[in-house]
């Protein structure tokens, strides 16, 4: 299925999690069966690595996947913060269907040798999508486990040959009043902006996602292109990106501009740095198919549990000062 066809999937075609895992397991088994060999897969899309296979110890160690129970597809796509479509958790899935995903152009510029305006296809051309199973921790105190599909941001950024002046990368979300009803209310100073330090942007865990659960991203999850930075609070993982700019100075970011004492530029997940109005020590995990009435709160981990991979980025920085 082409990316374009996939953008208009009816709900009836959405695979539920159990089927998804089973199908992946089958594909994995088929791919490994000697009778079929590689030729058996010719013509078929290469299946992404699979959430059905348990993550290997190496993958877990690298932070690329986790074996924690996944959040169901329905919850991942039905419980969202995407203020361009309204501030209620159900607003984006109800209102975002109208967002046109094709054609989609991303303007890449700033401190780089090869700036340009590219179609989404050209931006990620030749890069094989990888599946990453990441924890996502929202600043509001809930978390999910999501099987993303995407390419490392570093692989995309390198193509534009950032110069020595590129100390930060700034990202911008589409802000189209006609397509996004939430823009009418200034809950954010539109357009939504985010930014990363260049070493954070180039980190192997930083993903430019185009899909989840083996399918293209639904609009409410930031289609057609979003950032996923698993060790930072969810609002850093900016959705529906239309511009990527290499800059020398720290760029202005949406939540930080709105309330600088509440939302820092770094916004690394940290149980010891509370939001001024609520605690960040624990989180409610939204995962699995059972009743979530008695979902246990779990302790929040420093860098959302990705400390082994990312702590070195912040060596010598006081995380309470640089929150």
């Amino acid at each position: 299925m082409s990316l374009r066809q996939a953008f208009t999937l009816p709900a009836s075609q959405i695979t539920d999690e159990a089927v998804y895992r089973e199908r992946r397991r089958l594909l994995a088994a088929l791919a490994m069966s000697p009778a079929l060999g590689l030729a058996g897969c010719a013509g078929a899309e290469a299946p992404p690595p699979s959430a059905a296979r348990p993550a290997s110890p190496e993958q877990i160690k690298a932070g690329l996947r986790t074996n924690e129970p996944l959040t169901t597809y329905a919850d991942v796509t039905g419980y969202n913060n995407f203020y361009e479509f309204g501030t209620g958790k159900g607003d984006p899935s109800a209102a975002a269907k109208t967002l046109r995903l094709s054609p989609w152009t991303v303007a890449v510029g700033g401190e780089c040798a090869k700036p340009g305006k590219l179609s989404l296809e050209d931006l990620i051309k030749g890069l094989a999508p990888q599946e990453r199973v990441y924890r996502l921790r929202c600043v509001e105190g809930w978390s999910m486990v999501i099987p993303w599909l995407g390419v490392p941001l570093a692989d995309v950024l390198k193509r534009f040959e950032p110069t020595a002046k590129a100390k930060y990368v700034a990202f911008t979300t589409l802000a189209d009043r006609k397509q996004m009803p939430g823009i009418a209310y200034p809950s954010i100073s539109w357009p939504y902006r985010e930014g990363l330090r260049i070493d954070e942007a180039m980190h192997p865990l930083t993903l430019l996602a185009t899909g989840l659960y083996g399918k293209p991203l639904p609009q409410q999850n930031g289609a057609p292109l979003r950032l996923v930075v698993p060790w930072k609070y969810g609002f850093k993982s900016i959705k529906s990106i239309v511009a990527i700019t290499f800059v020398e100075r720290r760029p202005a970011t949406a939540w930080n501009s709105l309330q600088p004492d509440e939302y820092g530029f770094f916004s690394n997940v940290n149980p010891d740095v509370d939001h001024p109005r609520w605690s960040q020590k624990t989180e409610r995990r939204i995962a699995g198919t059972g009743s979530k009435l008695f979902a246990e709160r779990i302790p929040t981990r420093l860098f959302n549990g990705y400390g082994e991979q990312v702590a070195s980025l912040y060596a010598g920085m006081n995380l309470k000062t640089w929150f």
Binding site: T71, Y79, S279, I286, S291, E296
Partner: protein, 226 residues
């Protein structure tokens, strides 16, 4: 009720029998209806919680605990506002009968506020009991929410006829606490939203009108200095 009978040593039952003022059947019916309406949100939520518990599908969304807390809190706030609207409505309409519903409305505000607080303790903080003191002490929005609930407790306890008689003039003074409680409740809501303050602002506006009316009445009653 300010027009309560003077303190009588007689047993309540005997007093009621001797009382010339019987509650008219129309008021009894209206009160029954008020109870029915006031319990409807709790019944709907109770049904959804039961569905969620037994099938995992209660229509409460991906984070049912947050939904339960939020809905109960909203109803507590709404009943508080409706209870505070009784006096202005009575003054505007001249219908003294409205006063008979004030206690009922206030007690439902306490009922929903208590369920809201219980949901927070039992469902939300599950397994983190040690956190509760820290949360109440350190989080401004939880502090004011807790204080609002705490303020409702003595009002609920002293809501009986007997208590009214016993407290006499003190009763009115004590129940003026409700104004501070309402301010705290709105503040609690205001401080927990991230950036979209439209909903809390709506309640703040309603409260400002309700308290503003009382202030204006009080100021305009004063004799003007010559």
């Amino acid at each position: 009720m300010s027009d309560a009978a003077p303190a009588a040593a007689a047993a309540p039952a005997a007093r009621r029998a001797a009382s010339p003022r019987k509650t008219p059947p129309g008021v009894i019916a209206a009160k029954a209806l008020a109870h029915l309406l006031a319990l409807t949100p709790a019944a709907i939520l109770g049904w959804q919680v039961w569905q969620e518990f037994s099938t995992g599908q209660g229509g409460l969304g991906a984070d049912p605990v947050a939904e339960i807390e939020h809905r109960l809190g909203l109803w507590a706030l709404r009943f508080l506002m409706i209870a505070l609207a009784v006096t202005p409505l009575r003054q505007l309409s001249g219908q003294a009968v409205l006063l008979r519903f004030r206690r009922l409305l206030g007690l439902y505000a306490f009922f929903y506020a208590s369920l809201h607080f219980a949901a927070y303790l039992v469902l939300d903080l599950r397994g983190y009991w040690t956190q509760v003191f820290e949360e109440i002490a350190k989080r401004p929005y939880i502090t004011v929410g807790f204080l609002a609930w705490l303020g409702l407790v003595p009002l609920a306890i002293t809501s009986t006829q007997g208590m009214m008689r016993r407290l006499g003039r003190l009763w009115g003074r004590l129940h003026q606490l409700v104004y501070a409680i309402a301010v705290l409740a709105v503040l609690h809501f205001w401080w927990l939203v991230k950036s979209d303050i439209r909903e809390p602002a709506l309640y703040a506006g309603i409260l400002a009108a309700l308290l503003g009316w009382r202030l204006w009445k009080r100021l305009s009653k004063r004799p003007k200095p010559l």
